[in-house]
Amino acid sequence: MNFNVSIWTKDNFPIVEIKDFYFEEGKINFLFGESGIGKSLISKAIYGILNPFDLNIYINNKSYFQYLNTAYVSEIRKNGFFVFQETSTHLNPTLKISEQLEEGDLSEFSSQFLDDFKYLFYGKKEEFISFLSHSYPKPHRPSGGEKQRILASMAIKKMQLLIEKNSYSNLNLFVFDEPSGNLDDKYRDLLFDLIVKKYLKGNFTILFITHDYSLIGKIYSQYENLLTRAKFLELRKEESGLSLVEFNSRNYLDWLKSFPEGYLNQNKTDFELLKIYPDLQIFGRKLSIVKDKEKFEKKDLTINKGQIVYLKAESGMGKTSLAKAICGLIKPDKIKARIWGTTIDENTKFEFYRDRLWGKKIAMCFQHSDEALNLNDLTYQAFEPFIKNKTYLEKTDLIEKNLFKAFDYETTKIIFKRKIKHLSGGQKQKINLLRSFLSPAEIIILDEPISGMDFESVKKTFDIIKNELQNRGILLISHNEEIFSKAVGSENIFYLVENEQD
């Protein structure tokens, strides 16, 4: 199907315009692209779930009201499902999860569904599944990852019901908008496996919006039968506007092969910058840092100059909270760490962090660039306050040099005096990262540094991290396990797990 999509605000300000958006029917279409570029918005518009009163929308030169009344929209809405990235858009806080799983057409009985649901929560006890299905999205608040699996399971149920009724056609469109954004590798794999199984049985049309390039590697290594039925697309923003191009999956695989395991840690020294002792308690939750998850082998997490350490954990375990606790941004119940030879614990006063550490010894790049950056700043203003004792020209020069690390000459000139809120998601994330590296701090914590980036930006960021490691130590938190596990090397990977033993 080809679509000409044009979305404007009510004040006639263009938001998204693309003339050649398409996906292939009966195929599993992977849609990559920077965050904020319009992947979700275009998909929602095509699926017919945007409010025509909020925006001026035209699809294939029809007004949105006309488009919503076409047979195509009513068919795809009846025979498909849209899995929202932001689960609270769909999940009703006044319904129990079990009731939610039976909304509308989903109320029909499916003998297979319970097994599918349990599969998505593999490794969890029966009691937990029962508790979860009887709880409400709020106030119990299942974790972000649990909610994603619950919402995705609704789409899985719809697929299963169609399979059981043998009722599928080209109009069975299932859109999964970042369905694994909050999942660790284990649950992402389980979800993906289930989607593929249903897809292969039902020959549905799937639009899978994601930033997770490691799915490519997974398909090539584990789902070869899917290769002829998978389509990799990338939405790109160019000066001429948005365009959809075929993504060459081989580029990603070749790039991944191009560096050896532990590539980022080749210049590791013996100079210790940070040590975190393994027993922690944050927000009442007992946690441990372990080297081997299965053996529960506790170990100090040490970062030396030139070293990058990768901290993995299930979604919602508290990786970001631990990072904030180390930085003194939240008060943990129990922590012990050594930063530049000085021991800190839960009783360390914030004045110590403020006067001795922040921006001097330790800095952090936050996951959500939209929250971390001042969106009303012009790009250069994001850096300016952190450059001291320089003239305006020296500052400008330094900022430009910094931007050149991530952007080409032309782009740097264009974005230098552009408001940050008008940049793409990937550009914002790179600025967020560059700003952290502008700090003289030798310990940098990177929380999801490549989230929301397209492949070209991922490669650039990878080079920046490699370059910055010459003088620093980095603690990394990321869901992009395939890339970083290889680049960091297994000896530099630690796990944050729940401590149920002490």
Binding site: T9, K10, D11, K324, C327, L329, R354, W358, G359, K360, I362, A363, M364, F366, Q367, H368, E371, A372, L373, N374, N376, D377, P385, F386, N432, R435, S436, S439
Partner: protein, 289 residues
Amino acid sequence: MRVKRIFFSKSDPAKFWFRIMIVGLLLIYLWNAAFLYESGFKRWQAALFNSIFVSFVASLLSIFLGWFFSYYKYINEYLDKVVVSKTIIFFIDAIKSIPQVIGALTGYAILTNLTARDYNLSSFVLLILLSFILGLFLFVEAYDMFNERIAYYKDKDFISALRVLGMKESSIINKEIFYKNSRPYVIQKFASIFGEVFFLQASVDYIISVGLTLKTNLVSLPPTLGNLLARIDSKQDIFAIGMIFSNLSYIFELPFKHLQGLSAALTLVFVLICVYKIANALTEKLENK
């Protein structure tokens, strides 16, 4: 057509209503210049200027006090100075608990007392004092707005991200949040406080006009639209509107014979409508931003 395009283009409703206000006031001015007797015309001009001046200064003061107390409370909470921050909260809550009209009336009572004691305060000083009294009871709205702005950014990683990069707390709050990210909110709040002061001042001026001491009379206080309305000749002008119920043709004589009271009332209502529209348009613009 060009004039229509420049002055009455509706693409920005806030600017549109601001222009309407200016053009409307200009028309009232010209009408009064043509038909109102000279001393009445001078009184109306002074009243309009004083009312706008007081509203402007009081709104400015409210924004300043709101900014100051919000920041001062936050920084004391941040530095764990519980006594200071609780004292600020108590002080603000105490002001909030006093109805604005009561607060303003009490302030006016003090002002009237000062005037009655022959301190020879100039009109300018009296207007500034009026502005302070009104600003003191309205700044809590600006204070709440600034607190909401901090709370909004506290919920996100914004403050933490800047803090851990070594930015000072005062720069984060004052420069990054208040100055760079709250200007539209400040403008909107300024416009709405301006309207409130304008109305409150007129109401209080009118109310006290029946209760001044023997030593103080309306002449002792600078003219404002409120006390212009309270003058006996203005009251007669307003009452004259009732004449049209018995004699409809009298409606044509109102804008010529009873201009002082009518133009004071019209100016009040007209400015309030325009300010209300401007504040609404700014809010809408902000929400769609």
